[in-house]
Every structure is written in structure tokens, then in C-alpha cells.
Symmetry: C2
Subunit: 240 residues, 2 copies
């Protein structure tokens, strides 16, 4: 398996303070899996320039794609675009293409296109815009970094704009078998199964439901026939 | 503000594939905020030894505390304990104290204390155990790293065991003011407010509800009087 790899960087104090529960990571994970891009890492950092810049640089060096979420609005705490420009050592200013989109949007609504809103047209020189069909203010792609909004409906729309432009790999197929026994009872045969199917990923995800232990066994791979064969073996070991 | 700092490292393919939505990060964030420990970063990595070891070493060097979640069960994909030992260059084997706890637990239930379950007694030499009142298999603390289970009910019980042993700081107080206007309309006065209260963190968290833009303004700080003063000013700027 040599699918492209990716990371997501969620930027925002509100996740780390426990005020807000992030949903963008989970959304993106599902979408990437479906198109054969392997999400390898997720990070959440606070609204601190040094932390953002360091994380972006670490992740873009390591993975084929980096997706960021949050911090590109009009308020004083929206510092992502400037941090991304700093990470790439690129110049950033209000750019004509983004300015034009935003001005047309606010003019059409009779809303003041004030200085704060103009901040959303700050785009690094070498970036290309990501379309935002929800609220116009664009995201952008620079190098292998895709910079998107944090509001889930906008993030999701931007993901829909970006993903068709990327080259995916073999979609990861996945099947799940639920076993109503504790992991300790099934671990031995499972180890053998994993050894017999080294080309597959076989994960055991335990749960406790109404006080009883159980586990979901998830078999993943890009070859449907192999996933099926492992599932048949697993079902034989632990009949429903 | 010189509160202790922390990071959480969530270990598990299932989060990154989009199969499972993590809840431990959000739970821990709320608990740490309440006791004045500043959660600065969260990471999710897959079940890959090199990735786990590197993340643990990066985070423990940078923050006062690191909390890990996941990968300490009895199955073949539970590799966290061994990776943590490797990160600390510590020896790891089945340890008598953990073995005794687990043996008593399974003996009392007439369940086989087999080789897989004995794996859960693998604890690095220099670690101390973290009590698990839900299912006995202990977590452990080594250096400034607290290694806990991924199943949310067990993770939460382990957090309850660990937090009272840590020295917190000044709890972060937080007040929220909801404004039913787009961020672009409020950004200017908000910037001025943030400049006038440099000791506070003032965040703007936009939302779109039924097609209308609004924002929650969250003011955070450790001095209740200052938070109140900023809230009074904010409420005057944007009356409800």
C-alpha cells in the first residue's frame, strides 16, 4: 500500500479548553479514507503563532497533504493565514482575487465591506484559492497545505472543493465483526489471524456495554478478496 | 499565567480512519481546564511504533504532563506500553504488582488469566500504576507521561485516579456572550477590547445557524474581576 498520506491540523483554543468538541477531524478522516488518502496524524494546537508555524512545518515535511481547520475569519484571533505565510516564508497581503470575491458578496447583500472583512482577503502570494460556496471567504492551498475554515459547514464545503483536485489511492475497504466477549478471550486467535494476513490491518476495539465486555474487530485492506477471506476465517473462529 | 502545561496523545488507527470519533480529548480538556492545567496540544497517531515513540518524546520534552489514550489492552494491536518503554529507554516485562491485581480479578470471576490477559501486566520498570476501578487492568505513570486506556469509561476513571495527584494552577474562568451578528460586524470593537484587556484571552467562535451568521465571544482568564469587567464592556458594546 503506497497511498498518499495526510495530516490534519486543527487550530483553536476552544477545542483545547474543552469548550467545543471538534468535528472536522472526524469528517475529514472519513472522506480521505473513501478516496484512498491515508490520514496518518491529527494535531490540535492553540492560537499561538509559534505553535502553528512549527506544526505546519513539521507536518508538511512529513506527509503528502496537510489540511488545516480554523482561524481564517475576520477577528483579531484569526491568525492562521499569516502563520501559514510565515511557515512558507511567503509574502501575504490583501489579494485582488479574494478581495473581488468578498466585495461582490458583501455589496450584493448591502453589508459593509469593512476593514475586518477585508482581512479575509489576506492570502499568501503563491497560494491558490479554495472555493467557499457557503460564505464566500475563500480558503487557500499553498504547497501541499490546504487552509480551511473551522466552522463545520464551511470546512465541509471547502473539503468538497479541494478533494476532487487531489490524486487518491486505493480506497481502504473495511469490515467489522462484533464479538460479545472480552478481548482477553479472543486475543490469541486474533494474533494468529493477523499473522496469517500480514497485508491487512486487523484492529480490536473493545467496548463495555451495560457492564459487559465486547469488542469490534475491524479488518481493513485495499484488496476486497483478502478482506473477505479474513472475515470468513474470523466468523468461523467466533460465530455470531 | 504560569499554569502547568499538558498535551494529550490519542493512539489508534480507528480515529484516523474515521471509524470512531474520539471523546477522550474533549473529556480531558474540560477536566484540566477546571484544575488549572493548560492543555496546549493534542495529537492523534496511528498504531505505528515509530510514530508513537516520536510523539511521546516530542510532547514530554515540551509540556509538564502528557496523557496518552489507547493501546494498552490484551490484543496484538495494543503496543502502547512497549512503545512508551522504548521512548524512555526503560525495561518492560510482566510486573508482579500488576500481575497480582489482574490474577485476583480474573480468579474472582472464574475467568482464564491467559497469556493475552497477562500482557496487560507488562509495565515499564520505573513506572507507577494508575488505578482502574472499572476493569482492573492498570494504566501507569512514567516520568511526566500518564498512560491510560482508550475505552472512554476506563479512560475517565483513570483520569479521576491521576488528577488528584497532580498540582494544578489557577483555574481558567470563562464567560460567553452570544452575538447574533456576523464576525465582520463586530471584529473592530473586539480587537480594541482585546487590546484593552491583554491579560485575558478573548476568542470569537463563529457559527451559522439556520443560515444566519453569529458568534460566541468567550472571555477567559484567571482573575474573575477582570473577566467580569471585560464582559460588562462587551455587553455594552453589543447589547443582547
Amino acid at each position: 500500500m503506497s497511498n498518499p498520506t495526510a495530516a490534519i491540523l486543527v487550530i483553536g483554543d476552544e477545542i483545547l479548553s474543552g469548550r467545543t468538541r471538534d468535528s472536522n477531524m472526524h469528517f475529514l478522516a472519513g472522506r480521505l479514507t473513501a478516496i484512498g488518502i491515508d490520514l496518518r496524524e491529527a494535531r490540535v494546537v492553540a492560537d499561538r503563532p509559534a505553535d502553528i508555524i512549527e506544526a505546519v512545518n513539521a507536518l508538511r515535511a512529513r506527509y503528502d497533504h496537510v489540511f488545516t481547520s480554523g482561524g481564517i475569519g475576520p477577528t483579531h484571533d484569526d491568525i492562521t493565514a499569516d502563520c501559514i505565510a510565515a511557515a512558507f516564508d511567503d509574502h501575504i497581503a490583501v489579494r485582488a482575487d479574494a478581495y473581488g470575491l468578498l466585495k461582490a458578496h458583501y455589496d450584493a447583500r448591502g453589508q459593509d465591506f469593512n476593514e475586518s472583512r477585508q482581512r479575509m482577503a489576506r492570502i499568501p502570494d503563491s497560494a491558490t484559492l479554495i472555493e467557499n460556496p457557503v460564505s464566500t471567504a475563500p480558503g487557500f492551498t499553498i504547497g501541499n497545505v490546504h487552509v480551511m475554515a473551522g466552522v463545520p459547514s464551511v470546512f465541509e464545503a471547502m473539503v468538497a472543493s479541494v478533494l476532487p483536485t487531489l490524486t487518491g489511492g486505493a480506497p481502504l475497504l473495511s469490515q467489522t465483526w462484533r464479538i460479545n466477549r472480552g478481548e482477553g478471550d479472543i486475543a490469541g486467535p486474533l494474533t494468529q489471524l493477523a499473522a496469517d494476513f500480514p497485508d491487512l490491518s486487523i484492529g480490536s476495539y473493545p467496548f463495555i456495554q451495560n457492564g459487559a465486555h465486547g469488542s469490534n474487530i475491524v479488518i481493513r485492506g485495499t484488496d476486497g478478496g483478502r478482506v473477505d477471506a479474513a472475515m470468513v476465517r474470523l466468523a468461523g473462529l467466533f460465530p455470531a
